[in-house]
Symmetry: C2
Subunit: 395 residues, 2 copies
Amino acid sequence: MTTRFAQRMERVKPSAIRELLALGAAPDVISFGGGYPDAALFPYEELVAIATASIVENGAVNLQYSVSNGPHELRALVAGRMHGQGTPTDADEVLILHGGQQGLDLIAKLYLDKGDVVITENPTFLGGLLAFNPYEPQYAVVPIDNDGMDMDVLESTLLQYPGAKFIYTIPDFHNPMGVTMSLPRRKRLIELANRFDVMIIEDTPYREIRFEGESLPTLRSLDSEGRVLYLGSFSKILAPGLRLGWAVAAKPLIDKLTLLKLAADTQCSTLNMAIVTLFMRDYDLDGHIAGLRTAYRRKRDLMVQTIRETFPADVTYTIPQGGLFTWVSFRPGFDTAQFMRDVVLPQARVAYVPGATFFPLNEEHHHARVNFSAQSESKLITGMTAWGELLRQRY
Amino acid sequence: MTTRFAQRMERVKPSAIRELLALGAAPDVISFGGGYPDAALFPYEELVAIATASIVENGAVNLQYSVSNGPHELRALVAGRMHGQGTPTDADEVLILHGGQQGLDLIAKLYLDKGDVVITENPTFLGGLLAFNPYEPQYAVVPIDNDGMDMDVLESTLLQYPGAKFIYTIPDFHNPMGVTMSLPRRKRLIELANRFDVMIIEDTPYREIRFEGESLPTLRSLDSEGRVLYLGSFSKILAPGLRLGWAVAAKPLIDKLTLLKLAADTQCSTLNMAIVTLFMRDYDLDGHIAGLRTAYRRKRDLMVQTIRETFPADVTYTIPQGGLFTWVSFRPGFDTAQFMRDVVLPQARVAYVPGATFFPLNEEHHHARVNFSAQSESKLITGMTAWGELLRQRY
């Protein structure tokens, strides 16, 4: 590789999470690292039946090219579902994506020039940063607490960066923190976005995995000016291996994103879109999700209980009302990455994601993101207990 | 939508091919427009069996997250196949993509800044331009004849633009022209790329659909400096609805593209990658492709024969040795877009792609790209004959 190209390649750096996921992928490791759903809960029998039926029903059509925005039947099913849950949506306001992640790439491609300001929660979803980074924005960050993003800090941030391109938020069961934005803050976020003429990306793949309490209105449903891009995902409610998600936004924006989707990868898999269409049409998606909620709530309870019983007393943690993650905070000065690398991984064969990787600007090293969905209940207890024992010895 | 965002959205324009594909998609139209394979030739029974078997064999694993670069087994199968066909390839030099199109997006994202020069054939694949356009390059174009890109003009173009970022070529059965780059020109292209320190993108989705003559060495196999990015596709040899292709390049470049793939859409569909893995492992891909060659050669012959017999005598056309397209040229001054819109589509219900859309800079209006793979033999003859009759009346 020549120097000229090697230099350009320096712009793209390996990510910490990738290396960590690689470490945590060893078969003997109990990993709380990835955002994996529990594979035992996939609607396995139904999907086997559908994968066959969808080819049989539609013949070779499901193996041929389709359309860039997704088949109308699937977009109508998604729109109907959103509508039924309180977010009025038309099929033409839906774009089928190769996972919610693709929406982050496409919106960044549409809006970001080098040096543009993107406002994120602090910490925020690493996948968001990975999607935005190639377009070389600068980040402004807003702290987050148990009610979500701090709106007073957001306001002063918008005053400081009046040309900010968009605000990126995970309002429901935040990744990595597990917290949910309160209704008053949602309303204030919309007001601020209107006042400062800035776009909002509402990334909410975990929204339907709610264990308790009432679902809060989407930002998209509170938006009267067409400035919210909503991103949903089938990864957590159906199966991530199908790689399907969706965007909902005002039609002019959806039309532009559709052109960028066409340019980026032509369309989503025709076969997989047919599988999801048939599942939504002929099977009980709501019933399936109800089962996920019950199973993940149990795991959340076990996770929180094991932390409370086995971790040092000064460790704090969020108690998420839904989603896949809790956020564990140790005393400042404690380095979760170092402790995992030197102690937890070699001695207990347990992995998690050190929190530093989720901070766009100034990394804080004393947190960890812990997933409670992927492992079986017994491995969850075994792994967390082993980690807790090592903490009591070495903390 | 606010003014600030509406302005940014103006950078993304609807494409002509999209509107044309929409016109040609009416059920009563005989379309020679899209680059569709013949759906009747998909290995339908095998894929039904595999879609079921792959889930049953691997269980829920095929519905879970996988890895960004693609499973090792699939990459090894692709590498082995490339190797057996004369392009030494290691599994670690392979990246599984969501169609070859995604490779065009990712390499542009890695290398292009606004105003950078991209050298393309003239005409060139519209999907290449669509992928590059969002990164706002400028184009320099090199004419193409029956032996591919004109290397003398390429040399003078490189002298004029010494900082050009890459040369984009479709060397085998070119889209839209159907021509193939000769071996002497392939060697000269590599020499020029080495001398001017420029990268080559070898986009070759049709390579295995050869009807006659010997397969020529890939540019990647002639490259000793790691400056060729090879893009292959399962769309034409298996089924486009699976949305899978692959890149082959030097490992440092593949590693960077893998990070961009992770950022763009996490990974390809686990299910679809498993399906292709099982097909390559357990079924006869070579035998399947041999069948495609026979069927498409017949269609190519019918297409050429029908043009010769029914089109005006001064019309010229390429006789491709493989692939999906022929390129028909009318007398200068004749506008194929206008003729399709006003005459062929309304009167004969026949569609093709007017050639103007394939020229990055100065559009030529008197060509048409004609696909011979998608339609049945009888519709091919009916549609081309009807078009020819209208030409004889109105040309």
